[in-house]
Amino acid sequence: MSQKVLEVQRLQKFFGGLRAIDALDFTVAEGQIKSVIGPNGAGKTTLFNLITGIFPPTGGTVEFKGKMLNNLKPHDIARLGISRTFQTLELFGNMTVLENVMIARHSRTVAGIFRAGLRLPGVRREEREIKEKAFEELRFMGLENRAMMGATFLPLGEQKLLEIARALATEPQLLLLDEPASGLNIRETERLSETILRIRERGITVMVVEHDMAIVMEISDEVLVLNYGKKIAEGFPRDVQRNREVIAAYLGEELTDA
């Protein structure tokens, strides 16, 4: 049996009276591609925010490779090996494409203000390595020709790829993609599918929040379905697709006995 990368137990997040996440249990196995789907407002992005430490859970636990993530800050969690993209793009608009990816090497490098200011030899070497690794990821995503452009000057599709390149440069073991296909056309979506499969080949475990069912069906090993913060189904894509409760959640129909 493969290793558990992520284990979520009895996870809860309440915002005042609103139960954004309620008694959620699931695991993610190493090397899996696990998709999280559900109607709008089901709590998918909240789940990602909880895992990455943007706010603490109201109850329950999140464990990453056996380590409790509950009260850690986002930067500590990134350092442990979890990386993400954002539903609403959060690129660094004040930097170039290359610099956006170079930042991601932050937690794997060490130069502080003093050594950087004096530009000691170790720092220069580290900078070169950072640049090389950043270029590697840009090449992986097919963006190497855009390196010197301002990040916000890229077309939307490429901006989304840039966010993924950036997340990959942190050398994550778990990658969280939040609606990577939104705003992409068919060709771009296919390319994305392919890319996610290639990411898995690198040994990275992937969780994807998505609305685009085609891509979910194509790439997922397992699908987790949320509605109103609760899990209503989990399993192989084909099975989840036929699950009545899931269909009802999306179409809003009353469950009948037929």
């Binding site: 930067h75 690129l91 930097m95 991601a104 932050h106």
Partner: protein, 311 residues
């Protein structure tokens, strides 16, 4: 340091090198440029805090004052050597900046602005009230000149000292900006959310750059004290903090060159307003307002845009 930074750096170095000759030994012009250098020092630090890290400080005159009073008090009342007092000032400024910065830089926008404003005002009151130590409103006089191996530095020599330090710190700052740290700061400015997700501990770096900018200001303060040999709290008031802010904003907060330009313009401005002191505050307000409304990126960027349109 990037290649495009080399040209302005060299130009500045050359101008500075030649200036005392061009000035023909005229004390007035030399002192004026010494003040430009001193203000540039503070403005550079502030530019890293505001332009790159995207934070705000409306109380930086306080650190300038801490440096000045440290040098002044320790050399006049406690027989410190000027270099010793210089480092004592840096040390004190750094500690205070750390203690104040940690809780303050967690605040957002307006709260941070007001907190730094309040901090600056408190220190101004302290400078005025701690009379046995600081001389109170009447100030502290008799500050000895800086000496190197027994030789007092004056005139052109002091000019070279100040600007030598400016250029060294300019190099240091450019290195920081183009390094992992600089990227981290700019990331925090660009999107604090994404910066965290990429492993950047935003609060740690914000405090670090705040402390760095306080150190720059403290150094400037010490150089100021030894230069004019007399300091009083009125030089470290809110108006000066605002002036420092203006140097960064008017020159261009986005780059360190903007800060230098702003420091130059706003140090020379009061000289042009000699005899029109009544208008001084009014002029500052008007300039800041005009820049914010029509050239919010600052004059440097405004000029670049104009050149680009013509070219």
């Amino acid at each position: 340091m990037k290649r495009e930074d080399l040209y302005p750096l060299l130009s500045i170095a050359i101008i500075i090198g030649l200036f005392p000759l061009l000035a023909g030994g005229q004390e007035y012009y030399l002192s004026l440029l010494v003040f430009v250098g001193i203000n540039s020092l503070i403005a550079m630090g502030l530019s890293m805090l505001m332009g790159y890290a995207g934070q705000i400080s409306l109380g930086h005159a306080a650190f300038f004052g801490i440096g000045a009073y440290s040098s002044g008090i320790l050399t006049t009342k406690y027989s410190f050597q000027p270099p010793e007092a210089f480092f004592a000032g840096i040390f004190l400024s750094a500690i205070i900046a750390f203690l104040v910065g940690k809780p303050t830089l967690r605040l957002k926008g307006h709260y941070m602005a007001v907190a730094t404003l309040g901090f600056g005002e408190i220190l101004f009151i302290v400078f005025n009230e701690l009379a046995p130590l600081t001389g109170g409103p009447s100030g502290l006089s008799g500050i000895p000149p800086l000496t190197i191996f027994g030789h007092p530095l004056e005139g052109a020599h002091y000019f070279y000292l100040v600007w030598g330090l400016v250029i060294l710190l300019l190099l240091f700052s450019l290195n920081v900006i183009n390094s992992r740290v600089g990227r981290a700061l700019r990331a925090v400015h660009g999107s604090e959310l994404a910066a965290g997700a990429m492993g950047v501990d935003a609060s740690r770096f914000k405090v670090q750059v705040f402390v760095l900018s306080a150190i720059y200001a403290s150094m400037a303060g010490s150089l100021y004290a030894h230069f004019i040999t007399f300091i009083s709290p009125s030089s470290f008031s809110l108006m000066f903090s605002i002036l420092l802010l203006m140097m960064v904003v008017v020159g261009g907060a986005e780059t360190i060159w903007g800060a230098l330009l702003g420091a130059t313009l706003l140090t020379l401005l009061p000289e042009c307003l000699r005899g029109l002191e009544d208008f001084e505050v009014l002029a500052y307000g008007a300039i800041l307002m005009v820049v914010l409304l029509f050239m919010p990126q600052g004059i440097l960027e405004g000029m670049r845009k104009m050149l680009r349109k013509k070219g």
